[in-house]
Amino acid sequence: MTPLIRLEGVGKVFRDGSLATRALSDIDLEIAPGEYVAVAGPSGCGKTTLLSLLGLLDRPSQGTYLLHGRATAQLSAGERARIRNRQIGFIFQSFNLIGDLSVGDNVALPLKYGGVRRGERRRRAAEALDRVGMIDRAEQFPAQLSGGQQQRVAVARAIVGRPPLLLADEPTGNLDSANGAAVIELIRELHVEGAAVVMVTHDPRYAGLADREIHLFDGRIVHDDRAPGSEGDVAH
């Protein structure tokens, strides 16, 4: 079966004038459709950079990234945007909701860029909000919500387009334990329904819930459950 994600020798170097910072080195990684992967590691080890590359928010400095077997290096900005819209859902640590848009409009935003009609957008946004228990807040604005509520809206936005891949960057980082647990439960449900999930987390409790754990250190994968010698396996 073609892997959903395949990274071969991927590296990322950030340059600021003459100063070069290597964030990722020689990353080889395959993620199958429907897999639930937790990426862990200390601060600054490259977790978020890896997620940005996977989400086509950034380009690797070296190596190859194949998404659904298709090389992404030569994709234009428009094609990358189209792939993000149709195949990837993002959940950010800092929610990243647009403050000037209502909750409903925030959730419907990916559908708008997907060319979905207004009525259909509203219906599907309402469905997604209902799913995360925020339907009664559709007309409110992000500033009127608590952190946990904002993250649930962000989850609704990520799933509204029914993408096959969910990328979550420390989704519980800004939440208390109760809200954190609720969001993780939501993500787990989405995985059970068939979406592949790649979640960056610091929290070993949540990392342990995933099918597979990857540990990064200084920009390199130092542990992968699926690597030869590891005992991890894909299981729903």
Binding site: S52, L57, A77, A81, R84, N85, I98, D100, R157
Partner: protein
Amino acid sequence: MSRTELLLQELRDAGRALGRARRHAAALALAIAISGGIALPIFSIRPAGDIPPVAAGQGQVRRLLVGHWPAGWGTTVETPAQNAGVLASRDLLRTFAALAVAMACATVAALVLSSAAARRREVALRAAVGAGPTKVLWETALEAGLLGVMAVCGLAAIALVTGAATSATRPELLRSWLLLRPGVAALAVGLVAPTLALLLFAPLAALPAASWRLAPTLAAAHSTAPPAEGSLRHALAIGQLAAALSLLIGAGLLLRASEARRSNDAARQEAASPALASRASLWEVAAPGDAPRRATFYGALLQRLANLPGVGAASVASPGTWVGQGAEGSLVFTCPRCANGGIGTPIAWTQAQHHLVGPGFFATLGVAPVRGRELSPQDAHVAVINRSFEAHFQGVVDPIGQFVRIGATGDWYRIVGVVADVRAPGIGASLGMQPAVYLPLLEYAPLTADVVVSSGARPAGGTQAAVQAAIAEAGALRAAPRGTLRAGLARLAAPLAWLGGAMLALAGAVLLLALHGVSAVAIDDVRRRRRELAVRSALGADPLRIVASVLARGLWTVLAGAAWATEGAILVAWLLQRTSPAMRVFDVRIYAGALAIVCAVALVASLIAVRAALGVEPREALAED
């Protein structure tokens, strides 16, 4: 969904987006509307006819001398409409209006950059959820288009008001000449330029956020402009302040010059002849008969006027002489030791005005001879020249006793005196000094002439009826009072004041734009320093210190603007001086006053940023990132 439905829906979305960013949108629309609204009427000013001559009949000097004019007498008469000074003034005003529009474009650019910086994260997020660069461009272009329509509506309203104000305040001298009729240039500068700046800048400013690396933008706690962009906006704000300051200084110098024309110069002239500038009255008379009879008429008229009680002095001259406007042509003069390119040239030539003046004309005006004497009733084939003409003798030859000839084949006239330059004040004046030669009017008596009557210490009104009667008794075909010389001078100086007022309005507009620019830069600076301010606050910095640090940055902007403005102001003043030679380039009070106004505006702009700085909550700011 049909294309129309889709477009309508996108327009609705664009409208909602503008509604959300209404402060920015209003600032942008205002910048376009103000600059265009002022520039459009100014660029619509076009000549529609001649300015009425300062003195009636001036355009027909040759005809005035029919049958008896000096050989070689010029036929070109400078009237204000032909005078490059007026056209240059109009072009200067246009240049300044274009500068105001350029500053508006800079403001549009700064506001668009500021808006793009504030929305950088939002645009990156839209890109992250699937909006490609084309989509982001299209959305921004739609927003800019809608905003452009709003701005153009505001621009039209302001243009109507400023157009009406321009029309209503036009001085009498320019009334028949200036018409507010927008042409291609007016529409291009006033309407298209600032709107185009918006339509081009807005999408270009938004595009990088959607095209470049999205991850760092999404990870940032706040949307701020990159340092290079901040520097660009800072430079734009400095440019706006410099332009505003330059225009303010230019306007101040012009207004001061026009004021001086009305009062100070008159005072100077009054010192020489106490009655002249304020009370000397001017009459236009038509003489009867042929040339000898006209000469007799003028002689008798001057005799009658001199004998009138209350009249200090009276004289006569060809129309327009009192403001230095008359026929112009080529003059040849003897100058034994003069050199041209190192080669001795006993005969030289120059372009000069020529006038006819009666005996005692300069004394009546209050202009004392610098050398020699002025013309007497018995003089024939003699001439008086002015200081500008005297300069052609290169300081090596005394002009008294030399000869001057009008044209290549005319008669020679012996120079008997040199008088100060006399020229028209205001923007209709000749550019620079104009050499002039004065011939005896009683030798070449014109059909019409200006009679100047100085009433000594008494008000002119007291002798008006007597003067009228004396002119009639002398046998004048026609006589018309033209008011006092002071009123005439004020009338001529009015366009200068009008130009100053127009510049002041332009400076006000640019100042308003600068207020926008400086406050946007200052607020962005505070946003960028949020964390730094929080750290200072956490370490116990007094709020006054924070206020001082924000104000200090504003002050630096003003000082940098002032440094540029000094050069700009000198350039503006120098350009203006070309149309109004009497204007002073340096006037400490004007420079200091303009700087004080700009400082006050910058202070207001900085106070907005101070408010934002004091609103930084250390706990929140330190928890960010």
